[in-house]
């Protein structure tokens, strides 16, 4: 499947910004499930400072907002050809030790709620089935309700609230999988939805399973990622895989506008 993606992020500032930075993880890389044909990130009213590949092999770019700007726009766009591998990504290419992905973070810290959930999983089955069971349990425990949680709501608090969005599903699942001894990580990316009205930015999780390597789990939709998924970045949690994060000095508020479009290209020929 060839997917055309355009991801536009617009920051509007009430006051001219004297100093601001954006950190981008907005550059998908080719792998077993996706081939990035071309990709381009444009920045309006901002200058690229550095670009590197981080320890999760994400491409990271640091951008400085043009001093005095009242608006900064980041447009990432490109074509990605995807393959369905039934969610299996395979072993890691990088040199990271597997235990790295067993470390908990502030957002994925295993509190009592996460532990309780992990304990409820059926452990007497094959690893993949344990994880599918856990995925279903997470989905059951958290209703999809936007606006309840924030980007920095930890997994345990999400379970307390019993509602959240795909990011929260992924956090809780990752946290619980680690409690069960599985290396697990958070994935941010895109999801192609027929008709295209729904949120095309998405988050899911990957778990390292003996003999298979990394395997994807979309908890929110209760399936394994297929050809409709494009992975943008991975990390121990949202903070390490967020497509854009920023800091700035200066007074006044800001508004953020995100628009993601994922369309299938040349579907007529297929």
């Amino acid at each position: 499947m060839r997917l055309s993606i355009t991801h536009t992020t617009k920051y509007r500032f009430d006051e001219p910004v004297p100093y601001g930075l954006l950190e981008l993880r907005l550059c998908p890389r080719s792998g077993p499930t996706q081939d990035v044909e071309w990709w381009d990130t444009q920045i309006l009213a901002g200058q690229r400072q550095v670009r590197f590949t981080d320890h999760h092999r994400n491409v990271v770019e640091l951008v400085r907002v043009e001093p005095g700007a009242t608006e900064t726009i980041v447009i990432a766009t490109g074509d990605v050809v995807t393959t369905d591998t039934a969610g299996v990504i395979g072993p890691d290419q990088g040199a990271n030790p597997p235990w790295l992905y067993e470390r908990s973070t502030k957002l994925t810290a295993p509190g009592p709620n996460v532990r309780r959930l992990a304990r409820s999983a059926d452990r007497d089955v094959a690893d993949l089935d344990v994880l599918h069971g856990l995925s279903a349990a997470v989905r059951d425990a958290i209703d999809y309700v936007p606006g309840i949680t924030e980007v920095d709501t930890p997994a345990d608090a999400v379970l307390e609230a019993a509602s959240g969005v795909c990011q929260d599903h992924a956090h809780v699942f990752v946290a619980a999988a680690r409690v069960l001894g599985f290396p697990a990580r958070y994935v941010s990316g895109y999801l192609f939805v027929e008709g295209g009205q729904e949120e095309a930015s998405h988050a899911w999780a990957e778990v390292s399973v003996e003999g298979l390597g990394w395997v994807g789990f979309d908890i929110a939709n209760q399936i394994s990622p297929d050809r409709r998924y494009v992975c943008l970045a991975v990390g121990l949690d949202y903070r390490e895989a967020a497509p854009i994060s920023g800091v700035r000095r200066g007074a006044g508020g800001e508004t953020l506008e995100v628009d993601v479009s994922v369309t299938e290209q040349g579907s007529a020929q297929q």
């Binding site: 400072q49 550095v50 040199a95």
Partner: protein, 475 residues
């Protein structure tokens, strides 16, 4: 002076006779009027107060500035004693740097089974962001302070390594300065090894680790959390002595892919940043997002070789208390040598046998929390109440891996001047090592910390400890 029974005294040894390194000083002291010396002590205090050599203490209402008590009787080491310490510290520091490189790259020591990987895997001091990252010049710990004590038999042992941002070196320098002003006659004609070149050595050593991006002479800066930090005086002092700019996070910004300071003439790039801000606060984009003491983006610049951060982030894994007990193994693994300086005997409560022993002898031991620092989460067995012992026993049984235990070590004593003449007080020693690519330099002597209270074993300045000038003299 009556030495304290059962403790090694630096001046009088165990036998009560003046030891060789102290002979000349002892003769001088014998001819001095105690009253003149006490007056000198008061004078020194005035000098410190006027110069503002203070540290900040956070009280209930507002930060208060306090003096660290200074004692005019020097701690004196003979050249051969010092040679052992110097070589031992160099060996240790080399090994710790090799360990850090290994931890963040191939992790051979774990594969070889010499250290359980769990000690690192779950450790907050281990920073994943440093994985695969090689600091400029390969140096992780540019400045190390090693805390050394001397046992009742007069043997030196390492109590703790400080690989993050060890402090106290300004006191080492100011103590010497003060002694030379007050007692010039003690220095005339005696070969006391100078320490005054430390700031220049620090500068040279940091410059030698400049990042690939540096062109021309390296620009250095010292990053301080600000005037309310306990060690602010030292930050300003070192910046001043090195001829480096003293900066706070708010002075810095990212310009053209480098970290730059905002100067009156516009931005000026920094090549080497000697930071006195902890890892956790260093970059709000990567570590604590609420940090206002850090520089957003600095880790990104660091990763592309745009700046040297001294000490390198993530170095704290090498001085973690859980790792400490493995340092002898670390030395042997990376240097192939036996450790020159021993550790204080340590029981790892993660090991069932050790835990059993510790629980049985709790009232005789000092128990330390492995990720804690500076006396919090600590139990001093002999001084603890029954209730405290009971509570700690429970903690140990619930999470044994969080604790190590050590015997209450007998710190040596050095005389201090009191109204009643000389009296023994317990001391430790913190020599400072500077690491440049291929070189470890140890400043002769270091900082001697002294418990000013009779029989106290606590030398920390935050708990009333004082300092002394430290001399290395020819044998």
């Amino acid at each position: 002076m009556e030495p304290r029974e059962g403790f090694f005294d630096e001046m009088y040894g165990l036998a009560g006779n003046v030891r060789a390194p102290y002979r000349a000083y002892g003769n001088w002291f014998a001819d001095e009027q105690p009253r003149r010396l006490l007056a000198k002590t008061a004078e020194a205090e005035r000098v410190f107060r006027r110069t503002g050599i203070t540290f900040n203490v956070y009280g209930d209402d507002e930060a208060e500035e306090r003096l660290i008590p200074f004692d005019i009787v020097p701690r004196i080491l003979g050249a051969s004693e010092w040679a052992t310490i110097e070589r031992g510290v160099q060996q240790r520091v080399r090994a710790l740097n090799a360990f850090l490189h290994d931890v963040y790259h191939r992790r051979e020591i774990f594969k070889a089974g010499r250290i359980p990987v769990g000690l690192v895997a779950d450790n907050a001091a281990f920073l994943p962001v440093m994985l695969g990252q090689s600091p400029p010049g390969g140096v992780y710990t540019h400045i190390v302070g090693v805390d050394i004590i001397r046992s009742d038999e007069g043997r030196f042992m390492v109590l703790e390594d400080n690989c993050r941002t060890p402090s106290g070196v300004s006191y080492m320098l100011e103590n010497r300065e003060t002694m030379m002003q007050m007692f010039p006659e003690l220095f005339a004609g005696r070969r006391i090894r100078p320490v005054g070149d430390y700031p220049q050595n620090l500068r040279t050593s940091l410059e030698a680790s400049a990042p690939p991006a540096a062109d021309g002479p390296a620009v250095l800066a010292v990053l301080t959390p600000g005037i309310h930090n306990a060690a602010y005086f030292e930050h300003a002092f070192l910046a001043d002595q090195m001829g480096a700019e003293l900066v706070e996070a708010r002075d810095l910004e990212i310009v053209d892919g480098r970290v730059a300071m905002r100067t009156t003439e516009g931005p000026l790039r920094i090549d080497v940043l000697y930071r006195r801000v902890d890892d956790d606060y260093l970059d709000p984009l990567v570590f604590r997002p609420d940090s206002v003491l850090g520089v957003p983006g600095i880790m990104d610049v660091y990763r592309v070789g745009g700046i040297t951060i001294a000490n390198a982030p993530g170095g704290g894994i090498a001085d973690d208390k859980a790792i400490y007990s493995y340092v002898p193994e670390i030395i042997e693994f990376y240097t192939g040598e036996k450790p020159i300086l021993d550790n204080v005997p340590t029981w790892r409560c993660s090991e069932p046998e050790s835990l059993g022993y510790v629980l049985e002898h709790l009232s005789e031991l000092v128990v330390k929390e492995v990720h804690g620092s500076g006396g919090y989460g600590m139990l001093v067995g002999p001084a603890a109440s029954k209730r405290e012992l009971r509570e700690f026993r429970k903690k140990l049984q619930t999470r044994p891996a969080n604790y190590i235990a050590q015997p209450t070590v007998a710190l040596s004593t050095v005389p201090v001047l009191t109204r009643a003449g000389l009296a023994p007080r317990h001391v430790d020693l913190r020599p400072f090592a500077l690491v440049a690519p291929g070189r470890v330099q140890v400043s002769p002597g270091g900082l001697t910390r002294v418990a000013m209270k009779k029989n106290s074993l606590v030398v920390n300045s935050s708990q009333g400890g004082g300092t002394k000038d430290t001399w290395v003299v020819d044998d």
